[in-house]
């Protein structure tokens, strides 16, 4: 029992530490909902229906800026496609988990959760499950609370501050921090450049063209380097 308790503590602590960088993200998301003019409660419902900051921010800010619904949905889904890698990496560990855990666990598999639990795959199934749930539910609770807080703060902040600009800055930060090889830089630059050239396409569909060409450019660059 005490072993369980210390596992829970470690999970909660790990999640608390990794959540700190997500706080501005959560607040900016709340502000973006307010700025988009969408129903705040509907916007916030994405925190538990999607539970993924980048996709939530993508969907809400594109819908708020008048993009076609289909284009916004596609963009948000593409943003979250990286989770397929996490799912594949976690699949062997989850084979030793009960069925309910195999169904519920993936719901909590956000970036930070993956970063935490990928170091715990050698634990016995019971300990792994306790740690996974402690960390995941901590992330979940904090995310619901901080995005709601962003919604409450949103209307109080003067419009002249133009806080909506925080969204592209956050995305830029995510890109730069994630760049660990030159081919990723190529993917980002080509993605931005092609979207710029395709900006005239209707309903912001240029974004999808830019993203696809960017992914292709990164892949080709990696091929050429080998």
């Amino acid at each position: 029992m005490s072993a369980d308790r210390s596992t829970i503590q470690r999970g909660v602590l790990g999640a608390l530490t990794l959540f700190v960088p997500a706080i501005p993200f959560a607040l900016v998301f709340g502000l973006a909902v307010v700025e988009s003019g969408l129903n705040p409660f509907v916007g916030w419902s994405s925190s538990w229906l999607i539970f993924g900051g980048a996709a939530q921010l993508t969907l809400i800010s594109l819908l708020g800026s008048g993009a076609a619904v289909a284009a916004a949905i596609t963009a948000a889904l593409v943003v979250n496609a990286r989770h397929i890698m996490y799912s594949a990496a976690m699949a062997p560990v989850f084979q030793h988990q009960p069925k309910w855990m195999r169904w519920f666990g993936p719901y909590l598999l956000i970036d930070q959760q993956f970063a935490l639990v990928s170091f715990r795959t050698e634990d016995d199934p019971q300990t792994f499950r306790t740690y996974y749930l402690a960390a995941g539910l901590t992330f979940w609770t904090l995310w619901q609370a901080t995005t709601a807080l962003g919604l409450l703060i949103g209307p109080v902040i003067p419009e002249e501050w133009n806080l909506g600009f925080a969204v592209p800055i956050l995305f830029l930060g995510l890109i730069v921090v994630g760049i660990d090889k030159s081919s990723k830089l190529v993917a980002a630059l080509v993605g931005a450049g092609v979207t710029f050239l395709a900006a005239g396409l209707p309903s912001r569909s240029g974004l999808l063209v830019g993203a696809l060409v960017g992914i292709l450019a990164g892949t080709v660059t990696e091929r050429l380097k080998r």
Binding site: T58, W103, P106, A166, F171, I179, L207, G214, G218
Partner: protein, 102 residues
Amino acid sequence: MTVFVAIVIVGLGTYLSRAVFILALANRKIPDAVIVALQYVAPAVLAALIVALLTDGDGNVAIGVPEFTSFVVGGAVAWRTKNQVWTLFAGMTVYWIVRALV
């Protein structure tokens, strides 16, 4: 209503992308080409998103001096610190200062 449906669809899709291998394909390997391509999804899409968010309704990309300066400084801070909080702080501060000056 449309917005709520859109959120539900993205929620389902997100869950599927997190669950697909855990629930269904535990013994399958992802083809190498797909793994390579998946690495480039985040940088390419996020960069495309930045441009899309700065595009106005007429298809003009509205990047002025404040935005550009903010990106350069924010990008440099992100590179040096690897820290989102500092990046956001630096980017927004520079944006406000340059906007007040221009």
